[in-house]
């Protein structure tokens, strides 16, 4: 039994909505069954009982990074096509869950996305028109996004149960360090550009305070969010307390 290109395309398109029914019990389990349905329907044509059983198996708990879920979908479609034992398919899915999640998180959420965003902010504060910045962010980010989805689905379907080995040989893991370095470099560029653009006309103590805040941010990392929230509240109160003295 084969699965033609049209059916594969439908599975791929459905993978964009795989998190549509994300929940705390089965995570994207229901979405996985939803995305795989075109393949299951083709393989169990005229066998509603078999189709129902297959759907139930794939509704069980599953999770992955959404951009890399195509690897699992493609590989499972291949296994179903080869009439693999249901127990093997279930164990295979369980084995893929962790690697696909952590690889995608590091590569996309903690790499590609912040790099694209920071590069766009650098462009904006360097003087590029805002409309170009927004447009370029969507285009450049989604080139990487779509390329990753297409590649993942293709290697999943081509390699089936050997996709883990193919993933290990892929250049994905090796790209994490250069992306992180580029992101840190872009962030380094952003801070002085942001300061120069937004602090123009302010007295020097504000420049010193901004530089101190940047140093504190570098040191504390994400933990700076709480002090910043307190500072924001204090600043808002201060703008009202001194409202009469600054409006000419």
């Amino acid at each position: 039994m084969t699965v033609n290109g049209l059916i594969r395309s439908r599975v791929f398109l459905r993978s964009f909505a795989i998190q549509g029914s994300w929940n705390y019990r089965t995570l994207i389990g229901n979405g996985f069954a939803f995305a795989l349905l075109p393949v299951l329907r083709a393989l169990h044509r005229g066998d509603p009982v078999g189709l129902g059983r297959a759907v139930e198996r794939h509704r069980e708990i599953f999770n992955s990074h959404p951009y890399l879920v195509g690897v699992a979908l493609g590989a499972v479609a291949r296994l179903e096509m080869e009439r693999a034992d249901p127990g093997i398919v279930t164990r295979f899915k369980a084995a893929l869950r962790g690697p696909l999640g952590s690889l995608g998180d590091r590569l996309v959420w903690a790499g590609w996305r912040p790099l694209c965003l920071i590069a766009c902010l650098v462009a904006y504060y360097a003087g590029v028109h805002w409309a170009w910045v927004g447009f370029l962010f969507l285009v450049v980010y989604n080139i990487g996004h779509l390329a990753l989805r297409c590649w993942g689905f293709r290697i999943g379907f081509d390699h089936g149960h050997e996709v883990g080995e193919r993933l290990r040989r892929s250049p994905l893991a090796a790209t994490q360090k250069p992306v992180a370095r580029a992101g840190a470099f872009a962030l380094g560029m952003l801070v002085p550009l942001l300061l120069a653009r937004t602090a123009a006309g302010l007295p020097w103590p504000w420049w010193a305070a901004a530089a101190a805040a940047a140093l504190l941010g570098v040191r504390l990392g994400n933990a700076i969010r709480a002090p910043l929230a307190i500072a924001l509240a204090a600043f808002i109160v201060a703008t009202f307390l001194f409202r009469g003295s600054g409006n000419g």
Partner: protein
């Protein structure tokens, strides 16, 4: 009419964050620009989006982590900022930033509620219900998320608009303090995002090299 458009935009932004298709319409710089466009001032929406974006750079949607929902808060804040007609000064921007950061938390609570609702919807698909039941329930969960996004965005925009009209429109707050506060907060928040790439211990050389290049551009460009 623009409120209806905002509700639809909020629905799309809410969906994009997790459900479909995650093409990053839900990032503050995009969502705020689109919300600004709805009320005829996309540039101001973008300016607000940039400020809010700096505060969300270091937030990673990893696993089942609970994090503020930036997209709907950005759309609500940008819409309120433009619709309140308080001008393009730092003071309205600062107050809208404070509001949007709080509203992002409220929106996050609504996401959690929607996920529990999804769980009930998915659970209702009894074994043997068949593939159509799975599809219908999946679409129903997405519809819930869409409606949630629309409602949370419109509610946020209305509250933000009211806040700005009451606090800023009559007697504007101190502009220099507001501008200085924005600069300090932006620098701190942006620099804090270094943690995403491994922190100062791992990325010191890249960050310092970037800072030198950025300073040269700022001075000479």
């Amino acid at each position: 009419m623009s409120w209806v458009a905002l509700a639809l935009l909020g629905g799309v932004v809410g969906l994009d964050a997790t459900s479909f298709p995650q093409i990053m319409i839900s990032r503050p710089i995009v969502a705020a620009t689109l919300a600004g466009l709805v009320v005829g001032h996309p540039g101001l929406g973008f300016s607000f989006g940039v400020v809010l974006e700096a505060f969300h750079l270091a937030i990673l949607p990893i696993g089942a982590a609970r994090y503020p929902e930036a997209g709907t808060a950005a759309a609500a804040g940008a819409f309120a900022l433009v619709a309140a007609r308080t001008g393009v000064g730092a003071a309205p921007l600062l107050i809208t930033l404070g509001f949007a950061l709080v509203w992002g938390r409220v929106a996050a609570a609504s996401v959690e509620a929607a996920r529990h609702a999804s769980e009930r919807v998915v659970r209702a698909a009894e074994p043997g219900m068949g593939p159509a039941g799975v599809e219908i329930r999946h679409m129903a969960a997405m519809a819930i998320d869409f409606c949630r996004g629309g409602v949370i965005t419109v509610t946020g925009a209305a509250l933000g608009w009211l806040l700005l009209r009451v606090l800023v429109a009559g007697s504007p707050p101190h502009p220099v303090i507001a501008q200085g506060a924005l600069v300090v907060l932006l620098c701190g928040a942006a620099a804090g995002a270094l943690t995403v790439f491994g922190g100062m211990s791992e990325r010191k050389a890249s960050f310092v090299a970037g800072a030198i290049v950025g300073t040269l551009i700022a001075v000479f460009a």
